[in-house]
Symmetry: C2
Subunit: 477 residues, 2 copies
């Protein structure tokens, strides 16, 4: 399969000696900030995997310092894919993706206390089968920072260009990964930047940017792809999942004419219907509709009509504790990340540069970030003309970015169906349903994760590891 990549190992070794000196000069400050981390507060003993953290400066004067966590594949680093993972938001830290979704460490909820989080190994880490760079992007996210105020003003496209610049520099500084197949991946809001970064890499390769990256494709989980259509799809999803009635669904469709996010404010019937819908769903935990809803944000966001994925952990970490009465809430577990990542000893262990960040946020809601791309669908359409592969997975119980909307935009790509919607299995149980679309050299695998939520690996870790392992290996799901 590797023979289909644009660049062979021979080509890479050909140019390598001639440019290495110049490029290494460019990344001299980067090399200095790479650190191998052997132990971490909260985890007993040495880390049983190779963790590196570091900063890479991008921009003309390296004024944007992007922080990353790199974890080598626990299987075969030189053969396994290299994955750049962007957590959503925008503004959600790479550490959140690492600790709660696909990384090798996670909080040991049972053995943690409010001020003493402990870590345990995640047996379903994607680092079992891939080398993963968890990147704090865009600037302002996690431990990434800028050296000037102006440099914080980025948008979807400029930030994606910075991510591409980061990636080239990172690969240069880690030449052992020059020939690994590369995937750009992420979930939720990353549905906007990931296809843009893939386009950047593809364009860069075509015009001869160095180093050539062995771009194979992209991976997206419950991705935001269209800022209106994906959110409009919440109505259909709420109906399917028995959160609103047939009558209300039909009436709302009829009265609002498909526009639920930006309805005509003078359309009284539509506004009235949407209010009733809102009453039905306002206490639903959007990210997995069957789990308890524990947001304490006030006033409540409009669930149907706002991009509110970040709202769900708007909890006061000083007053909330996991010991409050009532049902267990997934949010409680998020608290530990605030305690842990803001701990001085942890930041020292991670080699965070002192004074660069006043407070670490799981999801930074005050980014100076402009969301200038309404939809990434055109990027996807562009990519279908290339020799690439895409995996799009949807936790099917997520109302934040419902699978029904994802299904719809994929259909608009008008690809051929190679393998029509069929179940796939983990431990003999249906883990989800997969459809494979193709178009010449391009292929897109769309799969649901049965019972999964918005960040599917957080809810169905075993199934999601099986999915990514099989897909990276070109197996059938």
């Amino acid at each position: 399969m590797n023979s289909s990549s644009s660049y062979s190992i021979t080509q890479i070794t050909m140019w390598w000696p001639s440019v290495v000196v110049v490029l290494l000069l460019q990344i001299s400050n980067l090399v200095a900030s790479q650190s191998i981390i052997n132990t971490l507060p909260g985890f007993t003993g040495e880390l049983p995997f190779k963790l590196e953290t570091g900063y890479i400066g991008v921009g003309e004067l390296d004024e944007v310092q992007l922080f990353y966590y790199f974890i080598e594949s626990e299987r075969s680093p030189k053969d396994d894919p290299l994955v750049l993972w962007l957590t959503g938001g925008p503004g959600c830290s790479a550490l959140s993706g690492l600790l709660y979704e696909i990384g090798p460490l996670t909080f040991n909820y049972a053995n943690s206390s409010g001020n003493k989080p402990t870590l345990e190994l995640n047996p379903y880490s994607w680092t079992k089968v891939a080398n993963i760079i968890f990147l704090d992007s865009p600037v302002g996210t996690g431990f990434s920072y800028a050296t000037t105020w102006e440099a914080y003003n980025v948008n979807d496209t400029s930030s994606a260009a910075q991510t591409y610049e980061f990636l080239r520099k990172w690969v240069l500084a880690h030449s052992m990964f020059l020939s690994n197949p590369l995937y750009i991946a992420g979930d939720s809001y990353s549905g906007i930047p990931v296809p843009i970064v893939v386009q950047e890499v593809s364009n860069g390769n075509e015009i001869g940017h160095l180093p050539p990256l062995i771009l194979k494709g992209l991976v997206l989980g419950n991705p935001l792809t269209h800022r209106i259509f994906d959110l409009d799809a919440r109505l259909k999803f709420a109906h399917r999942m028995a959160l609103i009635s047939d009558r209300l669904y039909e009436s709302t469709k009829r009265n609002c004419k498909g526009e639920y996010i930006y309805p005509d404010p003078s359309n009284a019937k539509c506004i009235e219907d949407l209010q009733v819908v809102e009453e039905c769903v306002s206490n639903i935990f959007d990210n997995q509709i069957l789990e308890p809803n524990c947001a304490t944000q006030s006033p409540k966001p409009n669930k149907l009509r706002e991009w509110s994925v970040l709202g769900d952990d708007f909890i006061d970490i000083h007053t909330s504790t996991p010991q409050v009465p009532g049902p267990w809430c997934r949010n409680y577990n998020y608290l530990y990340s605030y305690v842990w990542a803001n701990d001085k000893t942890v930041q020292e262990a991670l080699h965070i540069r002192e004074g660069t960040k006043t407070e670490w946020d799981r999801c930074n809601k005050s980014l100076a970030y402009t969301e200038n791309v309404i939809t990434s669908i055109d990027y996807h359409r562009n990519l279908t003309k290339k020799d690439l592969r895409a995996l799009v997975y949807s936790g099917d119980h997520d109302m934040t970015i419902p699978y029904v909307g994802t299904e719809e935009w994929i259909e608009t790509l008008d690809l051929s169906i190679e393998d029509d919607w069929r179940p796939w299995f983990v431990d003999g149980q249906i883990a989800g349903y997969v459809t494979i679309f193709t178009e010449e050299k391009y292929s897109l695998t769309f799969t649901t994760i049965k019972g999964g939520g918005h960040t599917a690996p957080e809810y169905k870790p075993k199934e999601c590891l099986a999915m990514i392992d099989r897909w990276f290996s070109y197996y059938f799901l």
Copy 2:
């Protein structure tokens, strides 16, 4: 609210002395077989509730001996409703409903072993708020038996008549419950007999059968109401729950013209579509689509096209153990009922008549029973003309009798909507959505149990107890 009942206490006490002698003669053999059970094997100490078991003979020569478990309300027996509970099947024992759904005892799964089941209290027993008669009906179910072979040949209507006869005799023998509000209740297959029994009671009251029963209404959980439409609804449900694709759903609807259970066998396109549907759903655990599927029945039933609620515990209790590798299966817990109820000491404790039953089955699949009523919808329509109330609840993750089909037949009753689909709450969380329909003196409450399965109280015990408590008390859900 009690003032709306057809019979007042005064009326009852008026006729009581005059008929009591005659009637008591009729039930003389019954009285002898009532037993108060204070202890049970597997449960430590005295039962903290009042359990009575017994037989009541029905038919001309009492040739049908119906076994029951009666548990007094743990709150206020004289004020709380009297509920007759029929477990589905047909053929599923009352004990199954008692131990796995709404009774005060349940297996302590963690502390049981294959040959030594232990029991623990169910904090969400419906006996917290109601007096419940769990009846082994129709004859052949659980510990009910007949004294002649012919007497086993019953059908939906004749069995319902026997249930009514049972009820009258039972109430006569328990005169303290003569004035309690009475509800006929059950789930799954009981959707057929329960409305028929209600009709029998209503008719009997009207023509002056004694004793008058203070019939208030009926309760049905994921009920089978129409043997074709309820099963056809599985297709729509599978589509909503992301088990089949939009394309396949539309194609199947178009090709099969709405007939999925009994498709035209010469309609090749339809048959082909149904085969693909079957491939998508055949490994789904119908009773709760998100739980592991562990049926080991071979060959597999056709999930879409057969009435297969009974199939799901077709496991060999001699070879299956809860310790087999793989995911936990709800079925494992069912095994304990076979071990427990077939234990000689248990049967002695329950005062089972020796030699009447060779083996107790959780669900007897070899009943000599004719399913002669295709739909109970006409009974429901009839009942809407009366001073009655109905509660229909649907675990919304059940594909055996999906909520979408239930929603549909309720709509055909053309009732007025008093309270349109809105969420209701338990512990501040949405427990489901409720709609209240009315028609003069009749009211029907339809509610979903969010995340619930086929026998909803088995999956969402706390929510279902809150539901039934509020509904019995005429509160808003």
